[in-house]
Amino acid sequence: MSDIAIRTDCLSKQYHIGIRHNEYRTLRDTLTDALAAPFRRVKSLFRGEPYGAADMKEKIWALKDVSFQIKRGEVVGVIGENGAGKTTLLKILSRITEPTEGQAEIHGRVGSLLEVGAGFHPELTGRENVYLNGAILGMKKAEIVHKFEEIIDFAMIEKFIDTPVKYYSSGMYVRLAFAVAAHLEPEILLVDEVLAVGDAHFQRKCLSKMDEVATTGRTVLFVSHNLAAVENLCKRVLLIEEGRVAMSGDAYTVVNRYLQGVNSAVKNTISLVDSKDRSGDGRIRLISFHLEDIKGNKVSVARSGMDVVFAFGFHCQEGEIPRNVDIGFSIHSERDQTLFVLYSSYMGQVFDKLPTVGIFRCHIPNLPLHSGRYRVGARVTIGQEEADWPRGGVGYLEVAEGDFYGTGNKGFARSAPFMVSGQWTLTDDSAPFIEDES
């Protein structure tokens, strides 16, 4: 017996897309085509081609030559932009649709979750839907009966179990749906985005359930946009770009590579050199701003909890050798609320003997910002006198979800942009009270 759970070999999937022919040139063409089309369609029908294949010349490869192996017990994340082919891959592996070329071998019982609550019927009660949905997901009746209490418990809807689900709130509906799915126990689990449901509390519960699944030695293929969750749950991550496996490797590396790729298109610099909207005597001018990781590589997107370096390029006026230089920067929310300001002098540092052209760098460990877009402002002074202050700011800081707390938890909503970590303890205060009594 091999220790491979999934092996794909040049898996490819082609779709016909609905680009019509160019406009018909003559009425005669139009008519003959209209008459011939039904025959062409009927012909394609008996060949087992999808509808309209004969009309649609344009084809795209949703997936092309995808080859990878997943070992038994491995938990692998799949990330990529929308439309990159992640879901197509999952659909092929769960046999919902066939590949056009190539093949895949799957060793073991497969459970796939492309959607929670698939097959839920609004007229049926919660109890009835649990049985129906369980059967649809491939559970045996005995198995569902056995786990019924557990499922209801997990969904927290005991009171409403005999109410038709059409009267459920969307939260209850989703909780019940996920609860059924969560109790599926296949050897290989294929999951698509199902964690993006419910309120924050329930999401945490789902994540810990996923964690539980991952640690029981089952093989999991997990497609998600929740990068913090992917990084936390998966050791290995596949990055899919335009239908191909662009990268496969350890979670941190692949996720970072993905973020750089995705956001390279996003412009995050304000044309600083040319900006006239600034104050200061101009003995030093800020000319650029970018982000780096601790190894010194430029990055376009930071992540919550990342060790990040803010780099501010400058040049000094001819003949100027400034001393006692203080550089500071500020971070502003999208609503232009100032979140924090950090001058080098706060840290007890001022700079002397500046080169003509150079870069100030500020290393911020464990970036305490929630995902979002922030404006970065900066100001330089020489001996307390303002040298340069670009009023429009020096650039933008893109922050993506990351594992700030080291627990995979994304933290509170974006409305609270700051993240602070701390240790929690519990003290038993009842003991001294009893002593007083005696």
């Binding site: 017996m1 129906l132 491939g138």
Partner: protein, 276 residues
Amino acid sequence: MPSDSDVIIVKPSKGWISLKLEELWEYRELLYFMAWRDIKVRYKQTVLGAAWAIIQPFFTMVVFSIFFGKLAGVPSDGLPYPIFAYAALVPWTFFANGLNMASNSLVGSANLIKKVYFPRLVVPISGVISGVVDFVLAFAVLLGMMLFYGILPTVNIMWLPLFVLLIFITALGVGFWLSALNVQFRDVRYTVPFLTQFWLFATPIAYPSSLLSEPWRTLYGINPMVGVVEGFRWALLGADTAPGPIIAVSALVALAILVGGAFYFRRMEKTFADVV
């Protein structure tokens, strides 16, 4: 731990493929749950509920009795016209509903088909099965009418399950074809009501097949519902027509439609999730 026999190979299929009946058997619980669901929700939020199962064939019978039986004086093989018509309408209604459910089943389950894997044949089959409850209710009324007219069933009634099976086979066979076609061509949705109406009059429901002379009468069995309807009348009401050859022809045709439909369905199956 899974053995190596558990290996699933996913690859493009070519040409006509196996029906995978053993897999269908593995999913029999799903079949049961889907049929059960269809039965449960069938008359939800209706005032008359399951009474609809009786109203449909019963009032058709009343209309037929007035217009064909009384006014047009259509012969009824020596039986009272109302029971002559109703004994045919009960299997017919089961067939027509089953056909209708099956034909629209795949499109109706589009969301499921796009998101979950299971043998797709389950969908039209459960559609036909879900009509069984209606059939049983309408059949109970038929028994009541037999009591009313003082007609006792003959020993031929032991053949009745066979005729019920024949309805199943016919409805499923046609249902396989139409449901698979419906995925690609929504024309089917408009064809089905027209087809069942046409088929109703092409079947000896309002009139007896004995109006035809041999060999045309036997050839008439090419319409499988002819065999079913004549069989029902023969087995229950003791109509004097011995429908042996008609039934044989009907059964053969129904089986051919079923097998052809099942293979066509399986062949088209790979496109369902992409097209539906």
